[in-house]
């Protein structure tokens, strides 16, 4: 596999996984190439997306937020209204169908905030597949509601205690499980990361977000928006939102990544700002690492953004400057979480609160009579306990 071959986005991407997984990755790639062209697969996917997930998700004009911020008109692409409460279900359904087609009866997943674990457990229940979810022990605590739901759906949660006990370790553990059970198991990677073909498959399955948003906005306004914004951890909701707009040169694209507590290593997950090119979890991408190439633990108030790598396509979009990636601190995200909740009556996920913060600045810069769409990647029910805890700490 070379630089200009499939699976690369500029110099990023590729397949850097242990040899034991290569055969499964090749099988996945060839199966996906076939299914992508198959009318039957497309029809089946569309059926589940509309009858189970609830697509298309609405594009809501946020009138109160627009007035409150006093800049561009704000539109929200409502992935929070999907079944299970986030964009993650789009990918989980698609990959479960691919797994079914390959005859795999067991699915595994990694999860940070629990939304991907919840989506995988949900499709596991619906398709009757044995499901195992790897989740960092720290995340099991801070995202306890999702952890409980995953178990209620009949999936097994395996808490990972190694290292920082968050998403990075959960991902490593899921890869190890896959290596052991590769003939019977499909690993539903939750973000646009991992070895080829995962970043492409996840991007394609999430691209429905941007396609819908683009056509919904156009239908209503007979033009394209001036800007779009999404939050980026691994970056699946963002790449899904961005993809349909990448060729629209007049649409400015912004990504919000986790600036955490500050710029010191270990205090943030701002991969696109501080990351250097490297190899992690099967892909070549930007990674937060020290001068010797050891991965530095990431931090974010939001478990879903707490990852030291990023999808390779985002690394490429950052390098080519098609997307403007900006950092948002924990405090800024928390403030925006409360602001959006009180002003618009929507409780966003803490991940999405990062996108709202960038959107607020962009909306002010754009000024009135301009339009901006925010991908509301998921709802914040899962974060309520954590937010209350953080507010308690803040008031001390």
């Amino acid at each position: 596999m070379g630089k200009n071959q499939p699976g690369y986005f500029g110099e990023f991407g590729g397949r850097y996984a242990p040899e034991i997984l290569t055969e499964a990755l090749e099988e996945l790639e060839s199966t996906y190439q076939k299914l992508k062209k198959s009318k039957k697969f497309k029809k089946e996917l569309e059926f589940y997306l509309s009858n189970y997930v609830g697509r298309p998700s609405p594009l809501t004009y946020a009138e109160r937020l627009t007035k409150h911020w006093g800049g561009a008109r704000i539109w929200l692409k409502r992935e929070d209204l999907n079944h299970t409460g986030a964009h993650k279900i789009n990918n989980a359904i698609g990959q479960a169908l691919i797994a079914k087609f390959m005859g795999k009866k067991r699915i595994i997943a990694e999860t940070g905030a629990g939304q991907h674990g919840l989506a995988t457990a949900t499709v596991g229940a619906m398709f009757g597949m044995e499901t195992v979810v790897y989740m960092g022990a720290v995340d099991v605590e801070r995202q306890n509601l999702n952890a409980k739901k995953i178990e209620m759906l009949g999936a097994k949660i395996l808490p990972v205690t190694a290292g920082e006990a968050t998403l990075k370790e959960a991902t490593s553990e899921a890869m190890r499980d896959w290596a052991l059970n590769v003939s019977t198991t499909h690993y539903i990677v939750g973000s646009a990361i991992g070895p080829h073909p995962f970043p492409t498959i996840v991007r394609d399955l999430q691209a429905v977000i941007g396609k819908e948003a683009r056509s919904q906005f156009k239908k209503h306004n007979h033009k394209l928006p001036h800007a779009i914004v999404a939050c980026v951890g691994g970056g699946s909701n963002a790449i899904g939102m961005f993809h349909a707009f990448l060729k629209d040169k007049n649409v400015a694209i912004y990504g919000a990544e986790a600036g955490g507590l500050g710029p010191k290593p270990g205090e943030h997950s701002a991969t696109l700002t501080y990351g250097k090119t490297g190899f992690l979890h099967g892909t070549k991408t930007l990674i937060i690492q020290d001068e010797a190439g050891q991965i530095v633990p990431a931090h974010s108030v939001s478990a879903g953004l707490d990852y030291p790598g990023v999808g390779p396509e985002h690394a490429f979009l950052s390098q080519t400057k098609r997307v403007d990636y900006r950092m948002v601190t924990d405090e800024q995200a928390l403030d925006c979480f409360l602001e959006v909740t009180r002003v618009e009556g929507i409780i966003p996920a803490l991940e999405t609160a990062h996108a709202f913060h960038v959107a607020r600045d962009v909306a002010k810069d754009l000024g009135k009579k301009k339009d901006l769409i925010i991908c509301l990647s998921g709802r914040g029910d899962k974060d309520v306990t954590e937010v209350l805890r953080l507010l308690g700490e803040r008031s001390k």
């Binding site: 397949r15 040899e19 034991i20 290569t22 290596a179 992690l280």
Partner: protein
């Protein structure tokens, strides 16, 4: 000619014993002594692990060893210093590094290879760098210029087509992964292990050494009957884990274990 090729062609050994341990566990200076002890008690090739924070191909024992090692300040200068001392203790025994690609990439491929060679290393095993990547091709060419080997892993899931394809960029020996999954001690191996190794020997004109899961003298004796070498990692690392706090005991236990395996291999 590479030192590894020399060793296998010398006719001195029927099946090579290749022990592995992670450098820096519990500290770098103890690693030097562990390396010397292993060499003194009968390693034909010694595999030294350069710790990486995210060892996805390794099981719990080696993961814990890596975590203990990284509690010490990691630097390549330290890695090369320790390696050099181990090498100087017994210069005839080939040393091989096992590590993941990210640290090598960060060090800079050419700089890393020059310093590794200088420290006495003659080959590399990189579990997350498949042979069909641009980086692997570059590495292979640079290694050849330095008479060093790139040792590829072949697994029970590797297809015939891939095995044929990796022949072009493989030297030293083939690291045959005995079972699915990650490193770690196992009670049983895949039933067709012997046939797979025979097939590989016929297909690739290189020695086939088996690893992943071998821990007991019985297993070592049995598998070395048909493999050109056996690689043992987790069982050795477990001895260091259980006794690392008591240096003399750790050294003695290592010496006894290595000697027992040595005797079991023809």
């Amino acid at each position: 000619m590479s030192k590894i090729k020399d060793l296998f062609e010398s006719g001195k050994i029927k099946s090579a014993f290749i022990p592995y341990f992670t450098l820096g566990d519990p500290n770098y200076n103890d690693s030097i002594e562990f390396g010397k002890t292993i060499l003194d008690n009968g390693a034909d090739i010694l595999e030294l692990g350069i710790p990486f924070s995210d060892p996805v191909a390794d099981g719990p024992v080696i993961q814990r060893a890596v975590a203990r090692s990284l509690k010490n300040k990691f630097s390549f200068d330290e890695i090369f210093r320790v390696t050099k001392e181990i090498h100087e203790h017994k210069k005839d025994t080939p040393l091989v590094y096992l590590t993941y690609f990210n640290p090598i990439f960060h060090c800079g491929i050419l700089k890393f290879l020059d310093q590794a060679k200088e420290a006495g290393v003659v080959g590399l095993v990189i579990p997350d760098l498949p042979f069909d990547t641009k980086e692997s091709e570059t590495l292979f060419q640079e290694l050849r210029k330095r008479d060093m080997d790139l040792i590829h892993l072949v697994t029970p899931a590797s297809t015939k087509k891939r095995i044929e394809a990796l022949k072009k960029t493989s030297t030293g020996f083939i690291y045959y992964v005995t079972s699915f999954g990650v490193t770690g001690e196992r009670r049983e191996f895949s039933v067709d292990l012997q046939e797979r190794i025979r097939f590989l020997k016929d297909t690739i004109q290189l020695p086939i050494c088996a690893g992943f899961g071998i821990s007991t003298p019985d297993q070592a004796g049995q598998i070395s009957g048909y493999a050109d070498g056996i690689i043992i990692g987790s069982a050795i690392q477990r001895i260091i884990e259980e006794n690392g706090h008591d240096f003399p005991k750790a050294k003695q236990s290592l010496a006894e274990y290595i000697a027992k395996i040595r005797v079991a291999i023809p």
